[in-house]
Symmetry: C2
């Protein structure tokens, strides 16, 4: 059908442009020299403008109308048409001028933010954060909203989700987690408290991480691992998925869990339909589903005793000081519950408290009930309520995350959704894959990976996140599986 | 003037697109995973098409007519207008369909070539080389030519140059060099024949190379060094110039001279007018002039005894096995004359024989007097005439260079022009900078670098290569200075 073919050509071109921007973004975080930052901003603004023009042409609307309802429901074409219609609707509400202005602002903001965080000085960041909040509100109003402004932003990352739904989820989660922290810390005290010590050379960490990532199924012919300040994963095209991690020579666990997390994302990207790469049926379902893949490998697999039963000998091969350890001692160190200031270093139990805090803060900013100038005070007060800890400086408080600097208001809740989905998927996988724990202890991950590929990866955006979860697990997405997992693991 | 401003906007956008393609090209040579190659070809084809459309719009011709003769001769604006007129004239003769087809073909050809070279099997490369030659002939005919087809291709890299002029230059050069090889080999026999031995760890080479590159003036805040199979330098924007080198742990000189060469290119890029980056006045004059900068630092500076007087202690700091050496012994090893098969490993005396061979072969291919199937035989026969050596296989013969695979027919002669210009510029610099050899021996390069910046870098495309050389050196460009340099250095 010629309208479908012309849409496919058009959106494939847009995917090409997006992938070029992703390549430049990857380089910006890994290798770009300091004096190249301004020009990089120009390049990204140009690409953002081109991409936006491609997905907002007038002829798209007409072609979409012809295609609507034409193809069998849930098939590849119908999925693409539905996805294009959503993307076209949203993109058409944003003028290209906004897109280019935003690309320049975020390119500058990530630099300003890095400087402010280094100096632990919120006042350096405040003016540009005000602009970022203004742009986020402007975008929400352009996109349109019913319940509240925040809904419009959240929906971009997690289609169909609303602030009210997130609030309800968090209201069920927060008290359960809060009640669990004390007992979990106490239970962990019985572990013996082993910690990594000695020197862990970067070269050894790289070799060990690569072995692990290959074993769980990340394809290095179609991807790579580099270093960056903040670990991330980015899909640059079919056959090109890149992870980063960061190295601490006093603790090999830091880079390893970065790799496990990002390789979870990476295997989702590598499991998508490469022939449809960048088209809706070849794209990830949502950020929450994406995060479920990273958290599943990082926490459920990597945090288990079984994982270390297989991997400790290999780790000790690279780091001889581990020779005397037990698998349980290393696993216990990896998952130790200990409330702290930094989200990305948080344990599995307290992690979601960090997310809840950010959701509340950014909802206030976007809704207008919280002024940018009051962020540090609001952050620190609420952090104390949630964890009992007093934030020592803004670098360890409201300046720690990059998200607002790239315009990612509405992004944080998807982290918690990822945790919830990961637990629910893992419970379902245990039911579907007999002897899964034994497989993990033997270092054999293919059955689990195959199940994830079939249930999650290969469907792209065929269903909504909720529908995907229902089909994969047979249950409504919720908090039960995650709370059960935390209780089993931490309240023995 | 509004026509000038609209041209500037337009060509600045084209420069942005070119710089994005350069970024993707850099990544292709350094980090791209194997399975990402096909998609990378799509990305590059898209960028090539966009860039071509930008510089060939109808409205450009009209604006150029208004601007012609309007600005003071030799000023920034006049240089840009002249450069745009040339670029527009050439680009307008090439259809966008050709540009995109060529981008896809070269992306594939570089892969096919790498495989064929590895297997030392010309038959693997032959079919795609036939296509490449066909495309080169097609392009020459599209561009138009008077003397011969090759002129059209050469002019792209070296404006104003012709095959006849190159032939005349080579006719003067070849017998002089041929007569020099034997005596130079004999003279080198008196050097004692020291060679690097022992282990030179990559980390030590990286640290030493960086010290040297910084000292000669490469700005690492605006650039970086990575590893690739073939050393290269690429300008990705103002403030972002990247070099690569390759490491041999049995010989630290290989990566060091790669860095000296590429840093010469890099300092030219960094010395251009950053505010006019990508516009003619902020672009390199020609490939021959570019190569003069790399060869000057690699050979004239790096190959001197004075260079090693300063650097040997630092090298011995990283590689203790060098402690007993004399600066002269290391310099003699670095510049030792010894005819061999590989152009990029060739010494300063025999290097141009490799270029002459390639010029003859590709002239034959483009002109139609040599069939692709006959390339290995023609190559090996002529190589024996020039050097007396029998090529053992095509990997060390006609498969050794990447140039044809990226469509670079007409590129090779600029290497020899670079050698000639380097010697002529160096002779002029000696006259202009008193005590230059003493400065080099003291590790002080700022006077030389300043002279190059003033005489060469900052002018961009203001003058033709010949005019630039006349102004910088006070003489017509020719072979005399280079032959004098070789005689002084190699026939003591």
């Amino acid at each position: 059908m010629k309208e479908y073919e012309s849409l496919e050509r058009r959106f494939r071109e847009a995917a090409t442009v997006r992938s070029i921007a992703a390549m430049l973004g990857w380089d910006q975080e890994t290798f770009l020299p300091g004096k190249g930052a301004v020009w990089r901003g120009e390049q990204l603004a140009w690409l953002a403008g081109r991409q936006h023009r491609l997905v907002t042409g007038e002829e798209i609307g007409a072609a979409l109308e012809v295609c609507a309802g034409y193809f069998p429901e849930e098939g590849r074409e119908a999925t693409n048409v539905r996805g294009w219609a959503r993307d076209f609707r949203m993109a058409s509400r944003i003028p290209v001028e906004y897109v280019e202005r935003m690309a320049r602002l975020t390119s500058e903001a990530t630099h300003v933010w890095a400087g402010a965080r280094k100096a632990a000085d919120f006042s350096m960041y405040r003016p540009i954060l005000e602009q970022l909040v203004g742009m986020a509100r402007e975008k929400a109003d352009l996109l349109g909203w019913e319940g509240c402004r925040y809904d419009a932003l959240l929906d971009e990352y997690e289609p169909g989700s609303t602030a009210a739904a997130v609030e309800e989820l968090f209201a069920r989660l927060a008290p359960e987690i809060a009640a669990m922290v004390g007992p979990a810390v106490a239970a962990a005290a019985g572990d013996g408290g082993w910690e990594p010590s000695g020197h862990f050379p970067v070269a050894g960490q790289q070799a060990f991480n690569r072995e692990v990532a290959e074993a769980i199924g990340f394809d290095f012919e179609a991807g790579r691992i580099d270093a960056s300040n903040h670990p991330f994963c980015t899909g640059l095209g079919p056959g090109d998925t890149r992870l980063t991690t960061r190295y601490d020579e006093s603790n090999f666990l830091s880079s390893l869990y970065g790799v496990l997390h990002e390789a979870g994302h990476g295997m989702y990207e590598q499991g998508l339909d490469g022939g449809q790469w960048g088209l809706p049926v070849g794209e990830a379902c949502s950020l929450g589903i994406h995060e479920s893949q990273s958290r599943l490998w990082e926490n459920h697999i990597g945090g288990s005793d079984q994982f270390w039963e297989h991997w400790l000998p290999r780790a000790a091969h690279y780091f001889p000081q581990l020779s005397g350890c037990s698998p349980h001692a290393v696993a216990a160190a990896a998952r130790r519950v200990s409330p702290g200031f930094i989200r990305v270093d948080a344990d599995e139990v307290t992690y979601d408290l960090h997310v809840i805090l950010r959701f509340e803060i950014e909802r206030g900013l976007v809704g207008g009930s919280l002024a940018v100038a009051d962020v540090p005070e609001a952050w620190n007060a609420r952090f104390r309520e949630l964890t009992g800890l007093a934030v020592p400086d803004d670098a360890r408080g409201c300046l720690q995350d990059v998200h607002w600097s790239f315009g990612g208001f509405g992004y944080f809740p998807t982290y918690t959704m990822g945790n919830l989905h990961a637990s629910q998927l893992m419970a379902a996988a245990r039911g579907a894959v007999p002897g899964l724990d034994g497989e993990i202890a033997a270092g054999n991950y293919s059955a689990l990976r195959g199940w994830l590929r079939e249930q999650v990866h290969m469907h792209g955006r065929r269903w909504s996140p909720e529908e995907l979860m229902r089909r994969a697990t047979g249950e409504e997405p919720g908090v039960a599986a995650h709370l059960a997992h935390l209780r089993t693991r931490y309240l023995r």
